[in-house]
Amino acid sequence: MLATSPVATQAPGAEEGDAHLLLDHLQKSFGDFQAVEDLNVSVRRGELIALLGPSGCGKTTTLRMIAGLSSATSGRILVDGREIQSLPAHDRDMGLVFQSYALFPHMSVERNVAFGLEMRGIARDQLKARVAKALELVQLGHLAQRRPRELSGGQQQRVALARALVIEPSILLLDEPLSNLDAKLRDQMRVEIRDIQQRLGITSVFVTHDQVEALSMCDRIAVMDKGRLAQIGTPQDIYERPATPFVAEFVGRINKLPGQMRDNSTITVAERTFKTTRNVGESGDVTMMIRPHRIEMVKRGTPSDGRNVAHGTIARATYVGDILEYSVELTDGVTLAVETATGGHSRTFSHGDEVELRWSPDDTIVFGAQA
């Protein structure tokens, strides 16, 4: 299934010419377990790319191989066309931000940030200036003399970022840097990291399991599933045109209904017929998928203007602040999740209301049923 999908078979190495970082047939196994399998990713200069996937998908292992903290079983890692997979971590010139920040607890903030420069033998006065500049970049100049444990999570996160950036690495690697922060701070740091990354124009690899982070921060996303690359593309590509059912389900919520292809653009789902413009050569048993917020909910009897229509009853309505989550039971027991924005212009429904659901054939995604 993965092998036949058009995106995953994108010719590896095709972009070798302009790639800043290139992962070429990268492979990592622990005994019998394949942690990373035949991974081909090309990162352009100045690009922020996300490695997105559930835990155990091999994204952190990949990052550790790039950083040199873990050796690849086979395959190549190239930076500016130069193979680096045999270099030790301390010669790779990568800035690494850990999930746990990994600040040296026995050193002040200033000494933490200075560490990488000391390792490079930077002269004292120049070192001081660069440390000060890096701390200024993350707005922590006033806390230079503090110990890491005296800082809040967000401040520690910034120190870790400054420590990684001050050495002016060729590539910045971020391993789930936001997962230890609370929701509000995470939103703020998301913007801040993206802002700094763009200002410095530094090529970055961002490992995350959070689709919102990946979608909102990154130029491109590489979705990984069980050690393999499931899809690589812009956030729009990933969300609107998922290459595999896994990507469709992992990135954002989605309804999943089993059906059969009648012809190239018609699906039957339990006696009901829907139109799709999204079928790529599937026939026979298929899985139909629709994003909950792409379904419009109206009172029965409104003209359908060529969209797919289904009738049902509200089984559950959940208010979550910015959206309302409905669970709609169709007449034959099939349940669809529907999301509508809360606010003045959209009508709200409650339990037991009879509704009509509509969605565009363009939003009707089809995958072969064996998935």
């Binding site: 950083a67 040199g68 903290l69 030790p88 971590a89 301390h90 010669d91 790779r92 010139d93 990568m94 800035g95 690494l96 850990f98 746990s100 990994a102 600040l103 040296f104 607890p105 026995h106 560490f115 990488g116 390792m119 490079r120 420590r163 990684a164 050495i167």
Partner: protein, 293 residues
């Protein structure tokens, strides 16, 4: 005042946490008083008595034994020799134990308990037996000399025992478990991510060890050194057997004075001296720990 007013009314027989503290520590205070404070005080009292020829003791209050100890070159050398040998033992034990402790700390959890058990297992055998083991290994007809002679490397047996070398070797082996366990107890702060962070910032292996690993494990190093130093300076059997009467240390001298020569006041004042050295070691230790924090 306010705090007292805010206190809710309670039965007079109920105690709050703060009142409970002295009651809870009373048992250990009692044990300490009977088994440590009282004997120490008796020793102090004994050291102020005057020895009479033939092993008799005259009850008095004099500092004469202390003055004798302080002015006699033999005893000063004894103190110096003890501190010197035990410092060497401490440092070598640390150097030998550190890699072992680090290895166990980093081992797979299922191996870690087995390895820890292997470290502790020598403690199941009495130090006396282990010391005789060293006599067999280091003696003139021992394992090492037999090997050296058979290869023709030496013509006469090398002196490996009944000297400082033998005592140092024996005590190091006997004290290593304590050092390893102390080090491992202090490795809690050692997050492998920190060493990886150092490497990613350009630190080579040895620099990472020097700048990150050792500073982070310093509390364990300090604890282990204190423990081994104190245990080595107070150890008696091993120096006695492996020193063969030729190595003069405080502990062996105290034994000789009290059991052989029956000069109890002198033995007592030497014991007080050991206590002072312990106190000094403890002060140094707490200074170091405070500086590390």
């Amino acid at each position: 005042m306010n705090a007292a007013q805010a206190e809710p009314a309670r039965s007079p027989f109920r105690l709050n946490g703060r009142q409970l503290v002295p009651i809870l520590i009373l048992p250990i205070l009692l044990v300490n008083a009977i088994s440590f404070l009282w004997p120490t005080f008796s020793l102090l009292r004994m050291s102020l008595n005057e020895p009479v020829a033939g092993g008799a003791i005259r009850e008095t209050l004099t500092l004469q034994t202390y003055i004798d100890v302080m002015t006699d070159g033999f005893y000063l050398e004894l103190v110096w020799n003890s501190i010197y040998l035990c410092s060497i033992i401490t440092i070598v034990t640390l150097i030998l134990s550190y890699p072992i402790a680090l290895f166990i700390h980093r081992a797979d959890p299922k191996w870690r308990s087995i390895l820890t058990l292997m470290v502790i297992s020598p403690l199941l055998v009495s130090a006396v037996v282990r010391t005789y083991g060293w006599v067999i290994i280091l003696g003139d007809q021992g394992l090492i000399n037999a090997f050296l002679m058979s290869t023709g490397l030496v013509e006469r047996p090398a002196r490996l025992i009944f000297n400082n070398f033998g005592v140092v070797v024996g005590l190091i082996e006997i004290l290593m478990p304590y050092m390893i366990l102390s080090l491992m107890a202090g490795f809690g702060r050692l997050d492998p991510r920190l060493e990886e962070a150092a490497q990613s910032l350009g630190a080579k292996r040895f620099t990472t060890l020097r700048r990150v690993t050792i500073p982070l494990t310093a509390p364990g190093i300090a604890l282990g050194c204190l423990l081994v130093f104190v245990l080595s300076i107070s150890s008696f059997v091993t120096p006695k057997l492996l020193g063969g009467g030729r190595v003069f240390l405080l502990a062996t001298e105290i034994y000789d004075q009290s059991i052989v020569l029956l000069n109890w006041p002198l033995a007592a004042s030497l014991s007080m001296l050991v206590l002072v050295i312990f106190g000094a070691a403890l002060v140094v230790y707490s200074r170091i720990v405070k500086a590390l924090d």
